[in-house]
């Protein structure tokens, strides 16, 4: 076992921050290159005209999942040392809905709004400003929201734990889901593009 590197003490917090900085630059770069610095591109998702967000995010998930699975299988990565964000299914369902509404209305999600700001787009900057005030507002309101924040606590949970299925089977099912999802997304895009061509708005 040699990974996770930080957990096994190969480097400390300072080096970890430098690495995080480099990874953050890379993440922002590829978000922007995928066109995710533009609210128009992002929001096209919700009109089913361009499902690039769905495809990019799902391919990232599948790539990371396969990489982690094979590294663990090869004995290089100790999965039990990888940090898992605890699951609070009620709180996360509500938070996801709030995020989704914000995404449709504002045109960005948190990461893409930063990428957009970096490219000089004013709408991105306004979004980041709202994001900062929203964070502050949440911090002020969090004592009132206490009950909701802990709702549906399941602790650190994985799909294999929750489904009681072997990890490898879940990995395969997620890949199948992604491939079917991609095919479906492309089909919808073509269908609507054809319709738009016949009856342009």
């Amino acid at each position: 076992m040699m990974a996770p590197l930080a957990k096994l003490g190969y480097f400390g917090d300072e080096v970890g921050l430098v690495i995080a900085f480099a990874i953050g630059i890379g993440f922002g770069f590829f978000l922007e290159r995928a066109g995710f610095g533009s609210a128009k591109k992002l929001v096209a998702q919700f009109y089913l005209r361009d499902l690039a967000v769905f495809k990019v995010m799902f391919s990232a998930i599948v790539t990371a999942m396969l990489g982690v699975t094979y590294l663990a299988w090869a004995g290089v990565l100790d999965l039990s040392l990888v940090y898992l964000v605890p699951t609070y299914w009620v709180a996360q369902l509500v938070g996801g809905l709030v995020l989704g509404v914000g995404f449709v209305v504002g045109g960005y999600c948190p990461g893409t709004s930063i990428a957009s700001t970096a490219t000089g787009r004013i709408d991105g900057m306004v979004y980041v400003l709202g994001f900062a005030f929203g964070t502050l507002g949440f911090a002020v309101a969090s004592p009132v929201l206490d009950g909701l924040l802990g709702a549906g606590e399941l602790g650190p949970t994985t799909l294999p734990d929750a489904l009681g299925a072997p990890r490898g089977v879940v990995v395969f099912l997620v890949v199948v889901l992604a491939v079917v999802g991609f095919a479906g997304a492309s089909w919808i895009e073509h269908k609507l593009a054809a319709r738009d061509a016949v009856a342009p708005k």
């Binding site: 076992m1 957990k7 300072e14 100790d78 999965l79 039990s80 040392l81 490898g168 990995v171 395969f172």
Partner: protein, 226 residues
């Protein structure tokens, strides 16, 4: 066949690769098992370097400082734990340490009465992939000898006296008391002023720190990094 492959776009090929990798992953076994995998060299080196344990004095300082970056685990039976345990300790009996209640990501400090059971548990946990397991050196016996009931200074010089004075403050913090001083220059063993029995159970929770801390104001933390 070749024309079929030639008609595939890059996306199709990537999708097929992902499906193939996902299919093979069904055969993978990455769930943690109860078999131990020990790296003998690593284990022995760690024992030799003596960085697999903390001393009672170090642990006492951590507790007084209120450090929360580790978990102190008492591996003795329930009756022994109820009679006395080191403040902040959690009770996980020896037979249950491998049952999954302890996270591999946590820094653990194990202790029993002596040092042996904790060291054995440490090896078992190490074999299960726990990488941050420490033991309290010589266990609760050493904790009582060195922290709760410290012996007087070995030499009457200022350095030893200062060290003893500090030990006395630590002992009182944990509800113990110092033993009589050993006469300087005598090679005879210390007078048998054994710890009073039964050991008075010091408070289970960490007592509130006196103003200014046990050792006066803590030194300003040196700023780290750039």
């Amino acid at each position: 066949m070749s024309s079929w492959a030639a008609n595939l776009t890059l996306n199709h090929k990537l999708g097929l690769v992902a499906l193939a990798l996902g299919g093979v992953a069904v055969l993978s076994r990455v769930a943690p098992e109860r078999t131990l995998t020990l790296n003998a060299k690593e284990l022995l080196t760690r024992i030799e370097r003596q960085d697999d344990h903390v001393t009672p004095a170090e642990l006492a300082t951590w507790i007084i400082e209120g450090r929360t970056d580790y978990r102190l685990i008492d591996i003795r039976d329930a009756a022994a734990f109820a009679a006395y345990h080191i403040p902040t300790a959690e009770h996980v009996p020896l037979s249950e340490v491998a049952d999954g209640g302890l996270a591999r990501t946590d820094k653990l400090v194990l202790y029993g009465d002596g040092g042996i059971h904790a060291a054995q548990a440490q090896i078992v946990l190490g074999g299960m992939g726990y990488r941050r397991v420490y033991t309290l050196r010589e266990g609760l016996d050493a904790w009582k000898d060195e922290v709760l009931y410290p012996s007087g200074p070995e030499h009457p010089d200022a350095e030893h006296a200062a060290r003893f004075e500090r030990a006395v403050r630590v002992a009182r913090f944990f509800g113990g008391q110092p033993r009589a001083a050993t006469p300087a220059g005598t090679s005879a063993p210390a007078a048998p002023v054994a710890a009073p029995e039964p050991v008075p159970p010091p408070p289970v929770s960490t007592p509130a720190l006196p103003a200014g801390g046990v050792f006066g104001a803590p030194p300003a933390k040196k700023k780290e990094g750039c």
